[in-house]
């Protein structure tokens, strides 16, 4: 359980970090290290150079009416507690509180979780459900990658080897917004068997309009469930049949292995129900 030898640098600017990671084809960025260091301890990962991104000034939260911008090095603990996140990105707040244990969340970062792209992790599913994006930088410049274009497979993304995530962007929750993240894990804080993120709005007639939904733990990437749930659902709190329908379509959509598909359906029904109930109380969405 000891990592193989490596060199370590701690650059003070994004430009230096980009140059450092480009200098060694076995270089790896380290932010919180809560996924990378276990892989190194088991020697499943053997980077020859670690580029520490903790001093690049990439932490912080900035929420406007339309967009929430979160520095890539912002730790899960802050996502759980920052009032701007609670107000403008309650889905992210709820999901962050489900990541590992408190001692993991004090170190782990949003950018690290997205770049690691573990398909059972919460935050990639949040990014997909919310229709967010990441801003990434390399020596070639800066580009924005939409959530739908970021995740390509188990621990794989469209990030180039020398690109650094600088910022994560999510649409800000509006006044009729409701969201929920529901998951099931065999032990509290352990990896979830399955989880689902749902974001929706209550339309002027009081009906439920699903904006986005994505599941973790059921595929090699976060599985976008938005189309299965499709648009307007009516009022799930008033209709057991509708909740059952949510469970049915998500179960059918996930398909394959019976238990996991059934679990996904049940979690989707619970998430839609909770998210809709929360949409009635703007400002108290994360209660």
């Amino acid at each position: 359980m000891k990592p193989a030898p490596f060199e370590y640098v701690r650059p003070a600017s994004v430009a230096e970090a980009v140059a450092a990671v480009a200098s060694d084809e076995n270089a790896k960025l380290i932010a919180g290290g809560q996924s990378l260091v276990p892989l190194m301890a088991m020697r499943l990962a053997r980077p020859t150079l670690l580029v520490d991104v903790n001093d690049l000034g990439l932490d912080g939260v900035d929420a406007t009416v339309d967009t929430v911008r979160i520095g890539a090095c912002t730790r899960h603990r802050r996502l759980e507690r920052d009032p701007a996140i609670a107000r403008a990105a309650p889905l992210l707040r709820e999901a962050a509180g489900l990541i590992g244990y408190p001692a993991i969340r004090t170190r782990g970062t949003i950018g690290g979780s997205l770049a690691h792209a573990d398909p059972v992790a919460e935050l990639p599913a949040v990014l997909v459900a919310a229709g967010g994006s990441v801003i990434v930088r390399s020596s070639r410049g800066t580009r924005e990658i939409a959530a739908a274009d970021l995740f390509t497979g188990f621990l794989e993304t469209t990030l180039a080897r020398d690109e650094i995530i600088e910022e994560v962007r999510l649409p800000a929750a509006g006044p009729r917004h409701g969201s929920a993240f529901c998951e099931w894990a065999p032990r509290e804080g352990d990896f979830a068997f399955a989880g689902i993120a749902v974001t929706l709005e209550r339309d002027p007639d009081g009906r439920c309009v699903v904006l986005g939904a994505a599941a973790c733990g059921v595929g090699s990437v976060p599985v976008d469930c938005s189309e299965w749930l499709g648009g307007t659902l009516g009022e799930p709190t008033a209709s057991a049949a509708l909740v059952a329908e949510v469970a049915r379509v998500v179960r059918a959509g996930v398909g394959g292995d019976g238990d996991r598909a059934e679990l996904s359906g049940l979690l989707a029904a619970r998430a839609v129900y909770r998210a809709f109930a929360r949409s009635a109380h703007p400002g108290e969405a994360a209660a």
Binding site: G33, V37, L50, P102, A103
Partner: protein, 155 residues
């Protein structure tokens, strides 16, 4: 190549020469003689290595010592000693919150951190805060009782 790292450990300045691959846990135990943080799984699952980093609970097996330049590290040794137990240690003893003792230093430290942040937690809050610290002996009941007992005392 070894690098020099300056740390503040339990309010004392420390300077260590480390290989980048040495974790904070390795350095605490092998260079600084602080063996209260235990090496259990060394992959972040068991919690036996928990310390405070700038006041926040952290897995010392999941951070390299070179990353801790100028950081404030607080280990279980800061909180008490065999002749002068911290109230949380005393409560663990009274409530049979330990048997073999392997998980105990990190369990006590995590409980102290919880009460610093939330002085009067509910039982579910205590269980959630301690969820990342595995104990294979006690079944947790005595541990939870010990923490709640300290939390319920008048300040």
């Amino acid at each position: 190549m070894k690098q020099t790292v300056k740390l503040n450990v339990n309010d004392d300045a420390a300077e260590v020469e480390v290989e980048p691959r040495e974790t904070l846990l390795d350095v605490l135990r092998e260079q600084l003689g602080l063996t209260g943080a235990h090496a259990g799984c060394e992959q972040g699952a068991c919690g036996a290595c928990t310390v405070m980093l700038d006041g926040e609970v952290t897995r010392s097996c999941l951070i390299f010592a070179v990353q801790c330049e100028s950081k404030r590290i607080t280990t279980i040794e800061h909180f008490g000693s065999p002749g002068a137990l911290h109230s949380m240690m005393e409560s663990f003893r009274r409530h049979h919150g330990l048997q073999c003792g392997f998980c105990t230093p990190a369990m006590v430290l995590t409980a102290i951190a919880l009460l610093e942040e939330s002085p009067h937690p509910s039982e579910p809050e205590v269980r959630t805060a301690l969820a990342g610290n595995l104990c294979r002996c006690t079944g947790y009941a005595g541990i939870v009782d010990a923490v709640l007992d300290v939390a319920e005392r008048p300040e």
